[in-house]
């Protein structure tokens, strides 16, 4: 159990006390971005008010102190996510940035005709960078279909792999369906044909304890703002023996070893991939978010989120006329659904008027919506600070919305 009660946890998030349109806010848009505990904001303030200077290579004390705090954040992230070393953690602006980094760098290394394998349920940020890379560099994008429950067709996945497969890029948890994908099995199969594997961890990191070394993916991308940290932060994990042999994707300060007018040589990991002054406050804030998650504890997080998920499914079933989009066997704490005979935009707008924040639309997964033949869904995504009472409020609001629209 957590050392904190749910009420104490909620008190750490002042935004949850807010009113919206004159009503108490119910925040069910956590999969888009999670709220920030006071501890994270305080840590960032402390850095800016007392510790800030530019990092690395400064001779003065403050620069040293800022560097220490920044590198301690890297060690904290490496340790929390089970990397083999802190050199395997590249600070990024988020999952999208991490994926683009790999697409750009790997794109320079792979021969024409190489195959990149993704699935139909990828977020646009794990689809478009590969489309761009394939177009630019003559590679082939292979897309594995999903089934009616919103799960990867594993037989098709296996059949897609071949000796030309160079990279498999798959999400750990689907943002629009909630599906928890069998990434262990995906990594095992991909390794069987000698392929590299990148996992989009944007939606998994907030919900489950990860051990990246054990998992065995070559790359794993995470967003800081989804794990209760600051916006514009994130990290890319890369196995040292893989990432260490890849070319930089951005040039500038911090990432070089030696520069002459004719040619430059580059630093080792992780600095080779961190050109320019990094987001120190962001990295430190992200590490503090990880501290907070550890304080709450994954036992509590998973128990609370599972309860919310099961309660929401039960209530929506009782409500009737609900079409669930994404009914995988293993699901993260979110429900994606449609209210029969209504458009998600209408329902979402009427929920908003009642203080309920859900997301509507295609959730940056248009191919998923095309597969189900729908314009979009309503998505309620939960975090450990949400309550079943909040789900009750959503159900009352949903009832009112449906009556108004019928």
């Amino acid at each position: 159990m957590s050392v904190k009660t749910l009420a104490e946890i909620r008190a750490d998030f002042p935004i949850l006390e807010r009113k919206v349109h004159g009503q108490d806010l119910v925040y069910f848009d956590n999969a888009a971005s999670a709220q920030k505990p006071r501890q994270v904001v305080d840590r960032i303030s402390h850095y800016y008010l007392h510790q800030h200077a530019n990092v690395h290579r400064g001779v003065h004390a403050l620069s040293q102190e800022a560097t220490d705090a920044f590198e301690a954040a890297r060690r904290r992230i490496a340790d929390f996510f089970g990397a083999a070393s802190d050199r395997e953690i590249i600070f990024t602006t988020g999952t999208t940035n991490g994926i683009n980094l790999i697409a750009s760098s790997l794109g320079k290394m792979l021969e024409k005709g190489s195959e990149i394998v993704i699935t139909q349920m990828e977020h646009h940020s794990n689809m478009v960078p590969w489309q761009m890379m394939c177009e630019d560099r003559g590679m082939v994008l292979r897309v594995v279909p999903i089934d009616e429950r919103g799960q990867i067709n594993m037989e098709a996945f296996q059949n897609t792999l071949n000796s030309k497969t160079r990279l498999v890029a798959v999400n750990h948890v689907s943002n629009s369906l909630g599906t928890i994908n069998p990434v262990e099995e995906i990594i095992r199969l991909a390794k069987g044909v000698g392929s590299l594997v990148l996992i989009d961890g944007a939606q998994s990191a907030p919900h489950m304890k990860l051990n990246l070394k054990e998992l065995g993916a070559d790359f794993y991308a995470v967003s800081g703002h989804k794990i209760f940290g600051p916006t514009g932060t994130g990290f890319l994990y890369g196995k040292e023996e893989v990432l260490g042999n890849m070319p930089p994707y951005m040039g500038g300060g911090e990432m070089i070893d030696r520069v002459t007018i004719e040619k430059s040589t580059y630093q080792g990991l992780p600095f080779r991939f961190e050109a320019g002054t990094p987001n120190m406050a962001g990295a430190i804030g992200m590490a503090s978010a990880v501290d907070y998650m550890e304080e709450v504890g994954f036992d509590f997080i998973q128990k609370q989120e599972e309860e919310l998920l099961q309660y929401a499914i039960k209530e929506l079933n009782n409500f009737g006329g609900i079409r669930f989009i994404g009914e995988a066997e293993k699901r993260a704490s979110l429900v994606s659904f449609l209210v029969e005979g209504t458009h998600p935009y209408d329902v979402g707008s009427l929920l908003d008027q009642q203080g309920i924040a859900v997301r509507t639309g295609h959730h940056c997964t248009e191919p998923v919506m095309d597969f189900f033949g729908i314009p979009g869904t309503l998505r309620a995504s939960f975090a450990f600070y949400n309550t079943t009472e909040e789900i009750d409020r959503m159900m009352v609001a949903l009832d009112r919305a449906r009556k108004m629209l019928s």
């Binding site: 458009h343 009427l350 639309g361 314009p375 108004m404 629209l405």
Partner: protein, 139 residues
């Protein structure tokens, strides 16, 4: 003929009758049902104003120097707002449409639906209506 400004004032008066959000939204949903239906054959790629939340289709025709709009959407609230925009702008002179200031949306407290953040196709639709009017005025 009523001007764009007069029509907007009328709408603002109609909305003044509602005290809470429910009345307002019920009215918008009713308006969506009154919107003259658009021929299905016009709901194609050429007429589509794409939004990631809801879709809008728009058709413009000119007759005796006046521009007539026809529009539709797959979402009711969007459609209700379209009904108001069509009521205000359709049948007006190109130059008046191009230079119009659509203050009624703000006044009735529905500006959030026209924000690009909503991505419901409405903001793009207003832009298209005006672009059409500007192009017609110039020709």
């Amino acid at each position: 003929m009523e001007t764009i400004e007069q029509k907007q004032k009328e709408i603002i008066e109609e909305f003044a009758l509602f005290e809470d959000w429910m009345g307002k939204y019920e009215f918008i949903i009713d308006l969506s049902k009154d919107l003259e239906s658009m021929d299905d054959s016009l709901k194609d790629e050429d007429h589509l104003v794409r939004g990631c939340q809801s879709q809008v289709w728009l058709e413009a025709k000119t007759e005796d120097g006046l521009i007539h709009f026809q529009a539709d959407s797959d979402a009711l609230i969007t459609k209700g707002l379209i009904a108001m925009l069509v009521r205000v702008l359709s049948g007006q002179k190109a130059n008046d449409i191009a230079t119009s200031d659509l203050f009624f949306i703000d006044e009735i407290g529905l500006h959030e639906h026209l924000s690009p953040n909503r991505s419901n196709g409405l903001a793009s639709m207003v832009k298209k209506m005006k672009t059409y009017a500007i192009a017609y005025s110039a020709s």
